[in-house]
Subunit: 364 residues, 2 copies
């Protein structure tokens, strides 16, 4: 009834457990005929090695962990809604049913990159998305199960990270670099926004762009603004003198910000530079509704490179972040440290791409 173990296989094949283990780990160390017997026994018994025992004995789990902070929205699904019985439900779906999907896409891609790289290197991937309750517990749980883990942004208190990193390599993904003791992988926020802004100044003669920022506590936002400032400074423009509007990265809030901007009565800015794509899309929504032409009247740019920005009309000029590569790089960093725990902390910056599209360049 209970799952078979090495002992069962060994007995069934008439060999010792060591031999069974060898057949599975280093087949070449075993004579071909013995190997065949053992494999036959494995098949007959339905033997699957226990990774727990294996990990314990080998002192490594062969698993890497990935932890994301949760987006609060939509996570609190309750159990009730689950038991409806009608197999079909016909609904007239109105156009403005709101945004269904939060920008998790970001995570999905990082996840996909990590997953890909991990398995390719012979590791399995354990995923955890922090939800309301007690992220610390979940992180510790993951930490106990893996050989190394990646943590997104500032989702975990430093203290815990230090605690965990005494046991396994921890790499921070995106967000700010914390202390100088963790490996860190992120994207070139500053350079990306700088290059985009310089383009606007140099090619489109923009002298007084409006910047729509994200939450004040977002390190990514801060870096992007920094790039914006640098670009202008290098063109002898003082960014501090320009309007800075603060949003929360959401499309919805960006809409009301844009409304205010447009309703202000004053002249429209030549360009609106947004700290992420969602907000830029919100701005586009408003301009379209008001009949203001993009990019002829106002240029709009975003940051992230999400799919929706490629589907909008006009398509959104933006800075594309290599999310998949981020995930892959995180895994590589872990493995690299696993390889040599003494090496100095790694801090990797992945390159970004400025994608010039119709929201700034006009249509073809």
């Amino acid at each position: 009834m209970k799952p078979p173990t090495v002992y069962d296989v060994a007995a069934h094949a008439g060999v010792s457990i060591a031999t069974v283990s060898r057949v599975l780990r280093r087949p070449d160390d075993v004579r071909a005929s013995t190997r065949a017997h053992v494999l036959a026994a494995v098949r007959e018994l339905g033997y699957v090695p226990s990774a727990s025992a294996r990990s314990l004995a080998a002192r490594r789990t062969g698993v890497l962990g990935l932890y994301f902070p949760g987006f609060d929205a939509m996570e609190e699904l309750d159990d009730a809604e689950f038991n409806q019985s009608e197999p079909v439900n016909v609904i007239v779906d109105m156009p403005d049913s709101g945004e269904v999907r939060p920008p998790n896409l970001y995570f999905d891609e990082v996840l996909r990159g990590s997953e890909l790289e991990a398995w390719r290197r012979g590791f399995a991937l354990l995923v955890g998305v922090g939800r309301g309750s007690n992220p610390e517990e979940m992180v510790s749980d993951i930490a106990g199960r893996v050989d190394g883990m990646a943590v997104l942004a500032r989702s975990v208190p430093d203290e815990l990270l230090v605690h965990i990193s005494r046991r396994i390599p921890v790499v921070l993904v995106a967000g700010p670099r914390r202390g100088d003791n963790f490996d860190h992988v992120s994207v070139s926020n500053v350079e990306g926004m700088r290059a985009l802004t310089e383009h606007l100044v140099d090619r489109h003669g923009v002298r007084a762009p409006v910047f729509i920022a994200g939450p004040a506590d977002s390190p990514d936002d801060a870096e992007r603004y920094e790039g914006f400032v640098q670009a202008l400074a290098s063109r002898d423009i003082d960014a501090a003198a320009l309007p800075l509007l603060r949003g929360d990265f959401s499309r919805l809030q960006a809409r009301s910000i844009a409304e205010d901007l447009v309703a202000g009565g004053g002249a429209l800015p030549r360009a609106v530079v947004c700290s992420n794509d969602q907000m830029a899309l919100g701005v586009l929504d408003v301009l379209r509704r008001r009949g203001i032409r993009v990019p002829e009247d106002v240029i709009v740019t975003g940051f992230d490179g999400i799919e929706a920005g490629r589907q909008s009309t006009p398509r959104l000029t933006t800075v594309h972040q290599p999310m998949v590569d981020l995930g892959r790089a995180a895994v590589r960093a872990m493995l690299s440290r696993l390889d040599n725990r003494e090496q100095p902390p790694i801090s990797l910056r992945l390159p970004v791409q400025v994608l010039l599209r119709e929201s700034s360049e006009g249509s073809a």
Copy 2:
């Protein structure tokens, strides 16, 4: 240098390892003062329990597994492209740069649902996406690490599944029900397509819709076609007499199918019913280019409910599958079986939603 163990903590706190273990597992069985000492030691030493040892001793891992078949495309990223150094790269992104993202979205959502449900029930989630080489190996690997696993569609040979299910519960997600021995979770493909088709006949007077099918070996496609046929039959229409075009679920191929259809010279069909959204979008592409009005001249419908169908113009009428719920249901099925391994096989069909949008209903 090595990570601290229970023994270290016990020594440091002046208690036995059993007490340390208890403090962590059932804190109430230990006197408050002792507990405090132990916890202090844990903190000082940076102790994190080894899940391997824990699982081995407790005979359960607390992890659930999820295995997806891989989409061949895009998975074969090579290592080289990874070492470019320029932090920014400015690119003029032309409109028809093709489809970047394959419809993995499907998986992303199932994954999110599983992840959510698993953690909520106190389990971690291990993810594996099959890539070209040897899915069997990966599946076995996962199987050894978890208490139960979910496998998507027909991505794994039956033989292996049987082998594995001798050790842990296996639940099949989507795809056909195989044998009657596995738990199975899927969506109401038949009913969904049937309801949609009936709507077209009853409300729009469609009498001879064209069906664009997916790959012949896709069980989902077969079920959808079945629903299509049933709906027509119930309205006294013989589906067998109607044209059935076979695509491969891709947008690209659907375009050429649509081209043929339009170029055929004959009258346009009143409606084109597609077996998935991607293909429906391909059809929309062609009709738009040809200046054929949707839905006035031709009604187009899809199946899946992907995000892109909500972004298209006109927005796509489709049948929405509850992918997140699929993932959640899979986890529930595993746990249910874990709870009672003797219960009869579960086969769950999740309800779908027919979303009527402008590609069939006209604009508001």
